[in-house]
Point group: C2
């Protein structure tokens, strides 16, 4: 690399000067898996940044697309996890900032999502955050798509218009109860629980429709809500739970697959085992009483 880098540097500088590109596509054919690849990319980025700062005022920031190419057997996991370490600031899902700022003590008690006792201010925060995130999502996808391009989305939603009445309230209400019982046993700090909110919101179809219309970016070709059993192994159409213990365990595993990294980083690595064991029991008892289903919104959008 030491020998090659000056040649790469010259090549990049000449391309920058000759083409003044808005977007540069860089392909590393036969990349390695790990630090060497990132060192190469980082060198390339520095060269381009240096080149741009020389002609500042003349050019907008260059968009870089970097393609890493190697045999399929290359350890890309190692590569992506190294990238993750570089980008620790990246926020993927967000809890409304206001809730953290006021540190929740009086806001949502020991709950982690919206429940019957959640004050309307907190509900509004969740809704506004969803509005912000989903608008940004639509805006960015709109930039990426060609005219006439289409996008099919599937995400969790809410069947009922009433924001206090949906399966997510129940699903995460039970998880909050399991967390509360860990607090009661002295295994989790009360303050940790009070500072914890799920970075999720399940919108209704009409909320989503309104946002798509307001955006003026997409035509809504199709939208529908479908309901699937909480137990991902349960493909039956009916409303009976055949084996509530087995289904309780399945639901607990499903929610664990979704939330474990979040739970572990907030409450500590030892908590998920305890939490999801308790949650499986609570869930089994819940499913003895009633079959619960998750609502998913499926929609198809066309770029305008």
């Amino acid at each position: 690399m030491v020998q090659t880098m000056p040649i790469v540097e010259n090549a990049i500088k000449e391309v920058c000067i000759a083409l003044v590109p808005e977007t540069m596509v860089i392909a590393d054919l036969g990349c390695s898996s790990g630090p060497n690849t990132l060192l190469f990319i980082s060198n390339v980025i520095n060269i381009i940044a240096g080149q741009c700062s020389k002609s500042i005022g003349e050019c907008d920031p260059v968009e870089l697309q970097i393609f890493l190419n190697d045999l399929p057997g290359n350890d890309f996991n190692q590569l992506f996890s190294s990238l993750e370490k570089l980008n620790q600031g990246t926020i993927v899902e967000q809890v409304p900032e206001e809730l953290h700022a006021r540190n929740g003590t009086l806001l949502n008690k020991d709950n982690i999502y919206i429940t019957k006792t959640t004050p309307s201010f907190v509900v509004k925060c969740f809704q506004e955050q969803f509005h912000k995130d989903f608008s940004l999502f639509l805006k960015l996808r709109h930039e990426e798509l060609v005219y006439g391009g289409k996008m099919v989305l599937t995400f969790v939603g809410r069947k009922d218009e009433d924001v206090y009445n949906g399966d997510m309230n129940q699903l995460y209400g039970l998880l909050a109860r399991s967390l509360q019982s860990l607090v009661a046993k002295g295994l989790v700090d009360k303050e940790r629980l009070e500072a914890f909110y799920l970075p999720l919101y399940g919108p209704s179809i009409s909320e989503v429709k309104e946002m798509v219309l307001e955006s003026h970016m997409f035509k809504l070709d199709y939208i529908k809500l479908v309901e699937l059993s909480w137990d991902p192994y349960d493909d039956t159409e009916g409303d009976d739970v055949h084996d509530s213990v087995r289904s309780g365990i399945n639901v607990s595993k499903f929610v664990r697959a979704l939330l474990e990294p979040l739970i572990a980083s907030h409450f500590g690595e030892t908590i998920p085992d305890l939490l999801f064991a308790d949650y499986a029991c609570l869930m089994s008892k819940h499913l003895e009483q009633e079959m619960s289903k998750s609502a998913f919104i499926i929609m198809s959008l066309k770029k305008l």
Copy 2:
């Protein structure tokens, strides 16, 4: 997926009809890692293929670019190795066909690359294969690059114009000797060795220059040959081997990293351990006598 697929199908069909695209870019935002992702892609490909066959004669085959997007922690290794299973026919490096067709017995004795005793017919086969592969490589990269785009290549080459005289002849000549000693011990069939050729060729600078000129596709901005010690841990500039045993082991590990999959698939999974132990010994003895260096060609090309 069962619920979503008809919506995806409609979206694709409408895009195909409205845009008659030459290239389609499909992004799976939040892909899973494994069979489900491949099932989704495979469904998408079938829908597009079906759509194209309906309007046959009207459109050329569509180029598909599929982007799989998820958190960096997704198991992409699993995904790529599943892809590899789908594509078992893909040839990445090639041994000249003629050598396999005539099954080598009289052609190159027990050698695996070009040595002093290799007949000129075999050398010609290696050269023609390199010519074919490198021309195709240039052609495909030419298609991918924009005008003014650049490409920096680093690959193994040969310092001496004489094709019989290069470090690769020595490096792989010693490996052939280790294979021969496994044959002598009855651990490898003589016929297996006689049917084995390395899918490699180290060209000289003038061979490469000529091909680039002949292609009329690229301007040669820069070309240089650099030499690096066979031992990848030896950064010294001199011609002394400080510790020939340690360096012998390092070179053996380096060649093993390069060739193990090839050796194991041809000679069996148990062979690499035996082979590279023997090779490390031979290599140490060789390095006691002389320091050997690999020749690498670095070049920078500009699309014409």
